[in-house]
């Protein structure tokens, strides 16, 4: 393409540094926000004002910020749960079901300790909380392992299996917490019994300790893929399963392993939302909403290109915008799901901008003189 005396050209990138990827992503975010402001303008709201409200509520407001961070922890765990199989070339669409199983696992521990009967029970939290975490991870891992086993042993499509398991887990939760279920709230109400306050997750400045788990998992994953033998095997399987098999890497063990690990991390997300976020402390009636939220883990994982560290800012942004978007919707009386729409636009733009991960635009000045055909201009 020619603009004035400049020749624009699309060139294939050979390499992409982390810094370049970050710049492209930031540009994509700016572009998405600019694009979305047209919606605010249509609703006769000054977009700058709207964005200031969104960001200040999400990241600088004493009420908004904790919500953002809780959502961030949840999204980051779901993203990690997606990334582990993703690096092995496999798609985990089942974080939803895995986190339900995690929640059930955590509440099963409470149930065993009698937490359902006496809410005032003084449980030894030093024992019970770790047990709840282990049970949550186990619950998710078992569900994940089913998909991994079927993939590795019989080559059953993992997308279909994880998706189906989501439904099974959803109804299993319903069975457990609704009328007559073992985890039923004594008052009915279609939700589970509440956590005894003695085993509320410890808070640090109002933030549940699960933030360290979420961040720790991403750092561990980064290390796993960059340095370890098993990480190498997972990556090899992800890029070329036939070559991995040739190199002696088991095409049964890798799918089983990544789905077990991914499921375990998703299970922890279940613990986080239903047993660690202040004000929830039960498997809520609208647990399906949190299950749907887990799907953003896929988006965050794809946008960060499977890099666990890059997932941190992405999950923070998505968490913040979903909270801030919901807030301005109420405050500015906008009649639509600002949070969903905003995340949707952002998602599409970020994915579209990944084009620039592979190509770059270069321009060169083309003097008018070249057309004269004098060879001296060929420099």
């Amino acid at each position: 393409m020619r603009i004035g005396s400049y020749q624009l050209k699309l060139e294939k990138r050979v390499t992409l540094s982390g810094g370049e990827a970050a710049i492209i992503s930031v540009l994509a975010i700016i572009f998405a926000l600019a694009l979305f402001s047209s919606i605010f303008i249509l609703a006769e709201i000054n977009p700058l004002f709207a964005y200031r409200e969104i960001f200040s509520y999400a990241f600088a407001n004493p009420y908004g910020l904790p919500l953002t961070i809780n959502r961030f922890i949840f999204l980051l765990l779901c993203t990690s749960a997606f990334i582990i199989p993703f690096r092995a070339g496999l798609w985990n669409i089942g974080m939803t079901g895995q986190l339900y199983m995690g929640a059930l696992g955590a509440f099963a521990v409470l149930f065993a300790f009698g937490g359902k009967e006496f809410r005032a029970l003084d449980l030894p939290h030093g024992i019970v909380i770790p047990l709840m975490l282990i049970a949550a991870a186990l619950g998710g891992a078992v569900l994940g392992a089913i998909a991994g086993f079927l993939k590795g042993k019989l080559d059953v499509n993992e997308i279909v299996v994880t998706m189906m398991l989501n439904f099974i887990a959803f109804w299993l939760v319903a069975h457990m917490i609704k009328e007559g279920g073992p985890f039923m709230n004594p008052g009915g109400r279609g939700e589970s019994f509440e956590l005894p306050p003695s085993v509320y997750a410890p808070l640090i400045r109002g933030i549940p300790f699960t933030i360290f788990i979420a961040l720790g998992v991403t750092v561990l994953l980064y290390f796993l893929f960059a340095k370890t033998r098993i990480g190498y095997q997972i990556k090899a399987h992800g890029h070329n399963p036939a070559a991995a098999r040739y190199a002696g890497i088991s095409t049964f063990k890798i799918p089983l392993l990544v789905f077990t690990l991914g499921g375990a991390v998703a299970g922890l997300a279940g613990y986080h939302y239903f047993a660690a976020v202040p004000g929830v402390y039960k498997i809520a009636r609208n647990y399906g909403y949190f299950g749907d939220l887990a799907f953003y883990g896929i988006i965050c994982g794809l946008i960060s290109l499977g890099n666990p560290l890059a997932a941190i800012p992405v999950a923070l942004l998505f968490g913040g915008l979903s909270i801030g978007g919901r807030f301005v919707q109420g405050k500015l009386h906008v009649g639509f799901g600002v949070d969903y729409a905003l995340l949707g636009v952002l998602m599409i733009t970020l994915v579209a901008f990944q084009f620039f991960y592979r190509y770059k635009i270069t321009w060169a000045k083309t003097g008018g003189k070249v057309r004269c055909g004098s060879s001296s201009l060929e420099v």
Binding site: K12, T228, A244
Partner: protein
């Protein structure tokens, strides 16, 4: 675009000329000021190793790529191709190495597909008559109403040529025209090419390694090396040796001396081994043989006769249906792939891109494929990437892998370089038993020579080697024992020294020779 630039052109006149063609790709100049010219009625071969820039030049001449610099002239007029459609309209035809035909359609349907004269209603009858004439004129024997999937490789190629001619091509670009053909098919094709040249057509075959073909048919040869034209000469003045020297840039030895090595104890014993193909029929049928230290056991045969399955069973990639495999006297029939690597078995697969390497991995990570499980390179579950990197640098230079850095992705390497990389990785494990499946297929002269020398070196170091090759000369000149394979069975096992080509060729085609069964 002006059509008809080539109408009424006479023998010996320049039909197509390229001046100063330059094309750069990230990190490499694929074509560096290439001048190339072809005249009517001439067969002008373009010769070059893998990665010399042949494909790029070919794609530029056919309009698939646009040059960064340089001009193309047709019939003396400057032209610009925006796409192959422009090139076709101006009378340039191209026959790709990978066929581009609709296999469920008949020959005629394929040929008229996309022809400008074809309207909404097909006039197959007229097309058939015209095509019959073309076939007769150039000696193509094809059933025009046959479906393409029923045709052999040679016939499919003839269809592609006919298609280009029917579109009115005056310049015919042929990409590796004989690479997939059997010897009789090659002969027929060459006769047709000569007949076309007599009719004032300009033929440009692009060839990687079949030098005798170049000498047999072409009038002139242009040799490319590293993106530049290094020679353009009359074929009469060229010899196989001189062309190879121009291509590679140094003298090339064509025949490798079979080194004599003291035979040791048997390394591999195979007893009544059977295996199924991917489609589930018996591809390997009760073969038995043994290989001793310092021995090359060559399997000669046309692809699809069970040799691929044999290689995979021995490498552990395919289940044995029956029989036993002993390695150093130990039964390994059911050992895993990893166990086999660890006990000293190495496999060079025929599928370099699909199986042998991981395109998105760097060279270092590709080398790690055969070392990640070694205690030397990993401690407590951590891979020592620094050490693997050092190893990569060492063996990459020893095996002549040309790459900008050890972090280059394997997918950016040419075919020959990829094979060097695989060879480097497998051989540096010093395997006691090596399976080499089509190790030189598709490689240029220089790389082929290199691979053969490396196999000989491994042999000297007492490796037992199973060599699978479609190149009969290669098997005969390298192997201590030759086993022609036909429909999953060995037609005999004969000593490589003194084995006659005709005899082995007949056995490959299914004839048993008396005195077999070694």
């Amino acid at each position: 675009m002006q059509k008809g630039l080539l109408e009424g052109i006479k023998r010996g006149e320049t039909v197509l000329e390229a001046r100063g063609i330059t094309k750069r790709f990230p990190g490499v100049v694929a074509n560096d000021h290439i001048d190339f010219e072809i005249r009517a009625g001439e067969i002008h071969a373009v010769l070059g190793e893998n990665g010399a820039g042949k494909t790029t030049l070919m794609n530029i001449l056919f309009g698939l790529l646009q040059p960064d610099e340089g001009e193309i002239y047709i019939g003396g007029k400057r032209v610009r191709f925006r796409s192959p459609l422009d090139a076709i309209a101006l009378g340039i035809g191209m026959v790709h190495q990978h066929r581009k035909l609709v296999s469920a359609h008949t020959v005629i349907e394929n040929i008229i597909l996309g022809h400008p004269r074809v309207g909404r209603i097909l006039n197959l009858k007229r097309a058939e008559e015209e095509l019959k004439e073309l076939c007769e004129r150039y000696g193509f024997k094809i059933d025009l109403r046959a479906k393409v999937w029923q045709l052999s490789e040679g016939e499919k190629q003839a269809v592609e040529i006919l298609k280009a001619l029917y579109r009115g091509a005056k310049v015919l670009i042929l990409d590796e025209p004989t690479s997939a053909l059997t010897p009789p098919e090659t002969k027929k094709l060459l006769a047709s090419i000569e007949a076309m040249a007599r009719d004032e057509l300009a033929i440009v075959p692009f060839i990687t390694h079949k030098l005798p073909i170049v000498l047999a048919i072409s009038d002139r040869v242009t040799v490319l090396r590293r993106g530049k034209v290094v020679a353009c000469l009359e074929t009469r003045q060229a010899t196989e040796k001189s062309l190879a020297k121009e291509m590679v840039g140094r003298e090339v030895i064509f025949r490798i001396e079979r080194t004599r090595v003291e035979k040791g104890k048997p390394v591999l014993q195979v007893e009544n081994l059977s295996a199924l193909s991917d489609k589930g029929f018996l591809a390997l049928n009760r073969v038995s043989f043994s290989i001793r230290e310092g021995e090359i056991f060559g399997i000669a045969g046309i692809s699809g006769n069970g040799q691929h399955e044999l290689a995979e069973v021995l490498a552990g990639l395919r289940k044995a249906e029956g029989g036993r495999v002993l390695f150093d006297g130990k039964d390994i029939t059911h050992s895993s792939i990893l166990e086999r690597w660890q006990m000293g078995i190495g496999y060079i697969p025929s599928e370099r891109i699909e199986v042998g390497t991981i395109g998105d991995f760097s060279l270092v990570e590709n080398i790690a494929m055969n070392f990640y499980f070694d205690a030397k390179f990993s401690r407590r579950g951590l891979l020592d990437y620094g050490k693997i990197r050092k190893l990569t640098k060492e063996i990459a230079s020893e095996y002549g892998v040309v790459a900008p850095s050890p972090d280059t992705k394997a997918k950016n390497l040419s075919g020959g370089n990829l094979q060097r990389l695989i060879l480097a990785r497998v051989l540096s494990r010093k395997p006691r038993f090596l399976i080499a499946n089509l190790p030189t297929r598709g490689l240029d002269v220089g790389a082929t020579e290199f691979v053969r020398n490396k196999l000989m070196e491994a042999k000297k170091e007492k490796a037992a080697i199973l060599l699978i090759s479609e190149d009969l000369d290669e098997v005969l000149s390298l192997s201590d024992w030759v086993a022609p394979i036909y429909e999953g069975r060995f037609m005999g096992i004969i000593p490589g020294e003194g084995a006659r080509r005709e005899e082995v060729g007949a056995m490959m085609a299914g004839l048993r020779v008396k005195g077999e069964e070694a």
